[in-house]
């Protein structure tokens, strides 16, 4: 009887110890590291969000195949914010308070990103965003952008564009600036007006339209009438295509035209868009693909995107910004050997991170670093980087009509 009692007591002690060790293990984090975030998996932004989802899945898979982080597997909990910033805010609250994720990954699109930043700030969590288009609005000191546009892209992006065009044998002397009032493109177009003026480009037309405009015929006719050497189109999504189609219908082809954020697939494939230029941080050609990480990602992404039925399977700005965001997070965890948000944020502010779009730093306004925006052009139904020279596809230069 005594033996049975002793045995029971020993078992109870053993169980208690096991429980204690188990609790300690949880506290130290022996399970997977859980990274929480949202994406616009449904709603108007879902087409682009799918690119980010695919990129995240590829990254996490690769990361786990390399042993994960801090010796633990990594799990990505991605929720659908339905393309609505208010839903994104609720879901980030859930991720922090209910799901108790270890780390946060930001969503796609400026509205949802701003919502997620607000939640991250409330809980002192570090957050890394994919494509935060308006740096001036990202004031939280533990927010880090995966899209390197510099702290004042409204000043620096037009300079990059105009410097590229200044290299042409016949540089443009007159410019028409036509722009959507969509916030993340409008401020860049307004900036372009100022930069153009400073560089001596004569503005022959400035027009704005409301986002969702249906009729581009009168805008096309006014551009044709103004006869500019260069058309700066502050467009997003399909607006640029609609404008070029409207121009074609009145038998007008602009000599040079640069678009801010066109939908890459439709613009590359459309016959009237040949020669159109746009901004980019990454295209899948050399020298970008000289980076073996980038080359591997491009190959995997192409295959997965094709299998997922994406209409445009190439890696460009969206996928590259998304991949860079994951690279930033991984670099911060590895360098600090911790999941402490403050430690990681401090490290990022003081160091540079190697990404597939180039070296990123976060030591300037609102944690933005260099403006790495480049100029690409549709040539033979493909996007190729044409400026600056060091990032141009082999042999590629800006082509004029």
């Amino acid at each position: 009887m005594l033996n049975i009692k002793r045995l029971a007591a020993a078992a109870a002690v053993a169980l208690g110890c096991a429980g204690l060790f188990s609790a300690q293990a949880v506290a130290q984090g022996s399970g997977p590291i859980r990274i929480g975030g949202t994406l616009a998996l449904t709603g108007p932004l879902s087409a682009t969000a799918l690119v980010h989802k695919l990129t995240g899945e590829i990254y996490i898979e690769d990361l786990n195949s390399r042993g994960g982080l801090l010796g633990r597997k990594v799990e990505w909990i991605v929720k659908d914010d339905q393309s609505k910033p208010e839903v994104a805010r609720t879901l980030y609250e859930q991720l922090v308070t209910s799901d108790k994720v270890d780390l946060l990954m930001g969503p796609y699109a400026t509205g949802a990103i701003l919502s997620s930043i607000g939640v991250a700030q409330r809980y002192n969590k570090m957050i890394i965003s994919h494509t935060m288009g308006i740096p001036a609005l990202a004031k939280y000191d533990m927010h880090f952008p995966g899209w390197s546009v510099g702290p004042k892209p409204e000043d620096t992006v037009p300079v990059t564009v105009f410097e590229g065009l200044a290299q042409l044998p016949k540089p443009p002397k007159t410019i028409a600036i036509v722009t959507s009032k969509f916030p993340s493109v409008h401020f860049l177009s307004v900036g372009a007006r100022e930069v153009a003026k400073k560089r001596g480009l004569q503005e022959v037309l400035f027009l704005e339209w409301e986002f969702g405009n249906r009729d581009f015929g009168p805008i096309a006719a006014r551009v044709k009438d103004a006869k500019p050497d260069l058309v700066w189109v502050g467009d997003i999504g399909l607006e640029g295509n609609m404008l070029l189609e409207a121009m074609k219908k009145i038998d007008y082809v602009p000599p040079l035209n640069i678009h801010l954020y066109p939908a890459p697939g439709p613009m590359a494939n459309s016959p009237e868009s040949q020669g159109a230029m746009a901004l980019t941080i990454f295209e899948e050609h050399k020298p970008f693909t000289d980076n073996p990480v980038a080359a591997k990602f491009v190959k995997t992404f192409n295959e997965r995107a094709k299998a997922a039925g994406l209409p445009y399977t190439a890696v460009e700005t969206q996928a590259a910004a998304s991949f860079s965001a994951w690279q930033i997070l991984e670099a911060a965890v590895r360098a600090t050997n911790s999941l402490d948000d403050r430690k990681m944020a401090d490290w990022l502010k003081a160091n540079q991170v190697d990404t597939i779009q180039g070296k990123l730093r976060f030591d300037r306004g609102n944690n933005y670093g260099d403006d790495l925006m480049r100029v690409k052009q549709v040539q033979d139904k493909n996007w190729v980087t044409v400026w600056p020279k060091e990032w141009a596809a082999p042999g590629a230069t800006i082509k004029t009509r």
Binding site: T42, E210, G212, R214, G217, P218, M242, E245, K249, L310
Partner: protein, 285 residues
């Protein structure tokens, strides 16, 4: 304000007329349903886009000519309209509730489109996109011209049918006072089914033209609601010619605002016209 050249003004007005034709074509079925059936069929916009996507599928994947879609899709959509009207009548949906029910239906159609064709942009590339001719320096795109002529033709045909045929007169009588019309032997139920089928078939026609001219995305469904509603209300509920005329007035006004002032002023135009109409002719809509 600098005055635009005559060529620029003419080209822009033409663009406005074509866009107005599209407003009118979409508004035709919506206005008839609203005025004669007392159903505010928001799903009309969903049907327009569903038809556009089906036309896209037929041309881009099955190699068919979009004109052939004009023969295939409207009869199918006629059937959908009949079923919808039967369901609304079966459950005795009131005019106000029809707004809510058909809004729900529109959301379902949008989700269906997104599920099948994804939220990505879909542009129908056909040889029709290239067709245009020039008159005195003014370029006239054939698909837009075709859409306008189709809208005019359909509007006049329906106007004539309503005015000169027994069926049309019966429909108008039904809309005026259904119980009295029934006392004179008019089959309200049958006519309602027929009219609903016709309205949804007209949505299918508009959708095909839409797909030829514009790029498709599911979320665009709602961006056309406001301006087409304005055209229908300006043109008069139940009128066949009204929405087309009002659509063209709105389209041209928007185009002139874009040329004389700024493109960002265009959306103000349609609603300013609507508010003015409601203020000065309150019995019109």
């Amino acid at each position: 304000m600098t005055l635009p050249s005559l060529n620029l003004l003419a080209q822009s007005i033409l663009s406005g007329i074509f866009l107005g034709g599209m407003y009118g074509l979409i508004g035709l079925g919506l206005g008839l349903s609203w005025g004669l059936l007392r159903q505010i069929n928001l799903a009309h916009f969903g049907y327009v886009f569903l038809s556009g996507y089906l036309c896209y599928q037929m041309t881009q994947y099955w190699g068919m000519d979009p004109l052939l879609a004009l023969l295939i899709l409207p009869p199918i959509f006629f059937g959908i309209g009949v079923v919808q009207q039967w369901a609304l009548a079966r459950f005795r949906i009131t005019p106000f509730n029809s707004l809510l029910v058909t809004f729900g239906l529109t959301v379902m159609i949008e989700s269906l489109i997104q599920w099948i064709w994804t939220a990505d942009f879909r542009k129908m590339q056909t040889h029709y996109n290239e067709l245009k001719f020039s008159v005195g320096g003014i370029f006239v795109p054939i698909p837009e011209l075709f859409t306008l002529l189709l809208a005019v033709g359909l509007a006049f045909a329906i106007w004539a049918a309503m005015r000169f045929t027994d069926l049309g007169k019966a429909m108008r009588a039904m809309a005026e006072d259904a119980p009295i019309a029934a006392a004179f032997g008019i089959n309200e139920r049958g006519l309602s089914l027929l009219l609903s089928g016709l309205c949804v078939a007209l949505a299918a026609v508009a959708g095909i033209c839409f797909a030829v001219i514009f790029t498709l995305t599911p979320t665009q469904i709602f961006s056309w609601v406001g301006v087409v509603f304005a055209a229908v209300m300006l043109g008069g509920l139940g009128s066949a010619l009204g929405p087309l005329v009002a659509g063209i007035i709105i389209g041209v006004s928007e185009a002139i605002a874009m040329v004389l002032f700024a493109p960002s002023w265009a959306p103000i135009v349609s609603f300013s016209l609507l508010i003015m109409m409601l203020l000065f002719r309150p019995g019109r809509a």
